[in-house]
Symmetry: C2
Subunit: 345 residues, 2 copies
C-alpha cells in the first residue's frame, strides 16, 4: 500500500516535470519555427535547378564526377537538412493531391528508381526521403536477384507488376537496370553474383534489353507516369569507411557480406558499367540524375528537391466534389442537433 502511494507520487512528479520541459521546448520551437520556415521557404537557396546540374547527358563522365560535392547548394549541412524537412512538407502536400486526383480518374503517377553500389545510401532514400509523405500513397519495391520463377519469365515481367498505379509514387530500390549493369560488369570481371549465379548474356540479348526497357518506359510515360532515375555515386574512399563501420559495429554486421569486398575489388568494372548504362539510358522521357553520395544530407536534399519540383510540374489538383455539397451539409447538420447527439451518447 505504502509503496503504491510512493509510486503514484513519483509518477505525479514525473508528469509535472515532463509537462514543464515540454512547454519550454514548445515555446522555443514556436519562436524559431516561423523564422526558419521563412528563411528556408525560397528555392532561391539553390544556385540552379538541381535537375540541370545533375542530369546525365551523352558526354557524362564518371571520372570527372566529384562524389563529395554539393552541386547547386552552398548553404551547408545544417541549413540543407532543415530545408529538406521544409520541402518535405510541400512534397507531402503535393503527393496527397496526386493521390486524391488519382482516386478521381487522373492518370498521373511517379516512378522513382534508385540505383547505386553498396553503402551508397539507397535505403536512406526510402527511410529519410519517402518517409516524409503518406505511406498510403507510396509503393515501395526492393528488387533482389531474380528467383527461380522470375528467371523463367521475361525480365521485365516482375518490374511491370510493380509499376505505380495512377496517384501513386512507386519507389524501386534497384530495378530493371540491374539486368543491364550486372551483365555489363560481369563481362569485364567474369565474376558471378553472391549466389554463384552468372548474369552473362550475349551482346544481342543485352541490346534487346536496352530496347525493351526503353519501350516499357515510353509506354509508361505515355500512360501518364513520370520516371525519375537516381544513381547514387559514392567514392571509393567513402565506401571503404562505410564498409569498415559495418564491420566495426556489431549492430551493423547483418548488413555486411564478404561478397561486398569482391564487388569492391571490381570497382573499376562497375564504374565503367555504370557510365555506359547511364549514358545509353538517360533519355528525354526518363532521365538519369547522378547524385554525389558521400554526403548523405546532400543526397537526400537533392532527391527531395527533384521529386518536389517534378510534382510541382505535374501540378496535381484537388478533385471537384461529384456530389451536392450543400445538400450533404444540410443532411449532416440534422444529425448534429443536441437531441441527435444525446440519442447516440
Amino acid at each position: 500500500m505504502a509503496s503504491k502511494g510512493i509510486e503514484k507520487q513519483r509518477r505525479k512528479a514525473a508528469i509535472k516535470r515532463a509537462k514543464a520541459v515540454v512547454k519550454q521546448v514548445k515555446q522555443a520551437r514556436a519562436a524559431a519555427s516561423e523564422q526558419l520556415q521563412d528563411a528556408l521557404s525560397s528555392p532561391v537557396l539553390w544556385s540552379e535547378d538541381p535537375r540541370s546540374l545533375l542530369r546525365v547527358d551523352e558526354n557524362f563522365s564518371l571520372a570527372d564526377f566529384d562524389r563529395s560535392a554539393t552541386p547547386g547548394w552552398e548553404a551547408g549541412k545544417s541549413a540543407g537538412k532543415d530545408y529538406t524537412k521544409e520541402r518535405g512538407k510541400h512534397m507531402a502536400d503535393l503527393q496527397e493531391r496526386l493521390y486524391a486526383q488519382g482516386k478521381e480518374g487522373a492518370r498521373d503517377s511517379l516512378l522513382v528508381i534508385v540505383q547505386g553500389l553498396d553503402t551508397a545510401g539507397k535505403g536512406g532514400v526510402s527511410r529519410h526521403v519517402m518517409s516524409m509523405v503518406d505511406p498510403q500513397g507510396i509503393h515501395l519495391k526492393a528488387f533482389k536477384a531474380p528467383t527461380e520463377a522470375e528467371r523463367r519469365e521475361h525480365f521485365l515481367d516482375r518490374v511491370r507488376r510493380e509499376l505505380p498505379s495512377p496517384g501513386i509514387i512507386g519507389v524501386f530500390d534497384r530495378s530493371q537496370y540491374e539486368d543491364l549493369l550486372v551483365p555489363t560488369a560481369e563481362a569485364k570481371t567474369g565474376r558471378p553474383d553472391e549466389q554463384g549465379q552468372s548474369w552473362a548474356v550475349s551482346e544481342d540479348v543485352l541490346n534487346s534489353r536496352y530496347h525493351d526497357i526503353y519501350e516499357m518506359e515510353r509506354a509508361a510515360v505515355e500512360g501518364g507516369m513520370r520516371v525519375l532515375k537516381f544513381c547514387l555515386m559514392v567514392s571509393y574512399a567513402e565506401q571503404g569507411k562505410r564498409l569498415m563501420e559495418r564491420l566495426e559495429r556489431s549492430d551493423k554486421h547483418w548488413k555486411f557480406s564478404p561478397h561486398d569486398l569482391d564487388v569492391r575489388d571490381d570497382w573499376d568494372a562497375y564504374q565503367a558499367a555504370y557510365e555506359e548504362v547511364l549514358r545509353r539510358t538517360s533519355t528525354e522521357i526518363a532521365p538519369w540524375y547522378v547524385i554525389p553520395a558521400d554526403r548523405k544530407w546532400y543526397l537526400r536534399l537533392a532527391i527531395t528537391e527533384i521529386i518536389t519540383r517534378t510534382l510541382e510540374d505535374i501540378n496535381p489538383v484537388w478533385p471537384e466534389a461529384d456530389f451536392d455539397v450543400e445538400a450533404n451539409k444540410a443532411r449532416l447538420a440534422l444529425t448534429m442537433t443536441d437531441e441527435a447527439i444525446n440519442a447516440h451518447r
Copy 2:
C-alpha cells in the same frame, strides 16, 4: 549581366540569413532535447500498461466506453505528442532489429490490424505512427470491398497473401474483420454497401468465418507472428464534426461520399456489430484493443506504446556475424591505403 549579379547577391544574402536562423534553431533544439528525452524517457508516465486498460474482454461494452478519454495518460496533449515521438525512435530501433534478425532466419513478425468507422483515424495510424519506422520493414495493405475475382475465392485468400513475412510489420487498414462486421451490421439495417453490393450471409456461413479467422490467427501465431488488433472508436458527435470538415474544405471533398451519411444513419447497428464481433474475437493469442479516438494524439500515443511494448516482448536481437569479422577487416584495410584510394580517385 547586371540582373544576374543582383540575383547572385540576393541568393548570398538568403543563404547567410538561412544559416544564421538554422544555427539558432539548432542551439535551441539541442539545449531542450536532452532535457526532453530525459523527461519523457520513462514509461512511468503511464499510470498503467495501456494493454491492460484497453484490452477487450468478454464483458466489454461499447455503451460505457468514453471515446474522448485518455486511459492511463494524465500528462496531457503536448507531452503526449512529444512522448510519442521519443517512443517512436525506440520503436524504430526495435523494428530494425526485428528486420535484421528476420533476414538471418528468426521467425518473428508482427501484424497490426486497424479497424474503425469512417473518420476514426485509421489512415493516421499509417501516416503518423508507422511512418516513424523504416518503410522497408513495413508491409502496408488497405483492404477495400473485394473485387469480382476476390469474391470467387475463399474470403481469407486475399488476406493470407498479405500476411507479413518474418522480420516484417504488416499493417492492415481494414481486414478480414470486415467480413464479420459488415454482414452483422447489414443483418440489422438491410442496407447494401456503397457499390450496391449485399454482404449478407447465413448464420452458418458467418459462424464458419469466425472459425476460419480464428484458425488463421492461431496458425500465424504458432508460426511466430504477434497479432495486435486495434479498433478506433470515435463518438457520434466527433464523427459529425469530422464529416462536416470534409464537406466544408474543398481539399477534403475527395475523402467524402454521400454513402458516409447512410452509414452514419446506421450508427446503432454498427456499434452493436462492433461490440459483438470484438467480444467474440478478442482472444488470448490475438487480443483486440479498443482505442478512444476522439483525441487523435491519444490514439497515436496509445498505439505507438502498445506496438513498442509488444516489440520489447519479442526482444529481437542483432544477428551474429556469419563471417570472420577480423579477416574481413584486414582484407578491407588493404583497400584503404593511400595508394589504393589514389588509384580509384
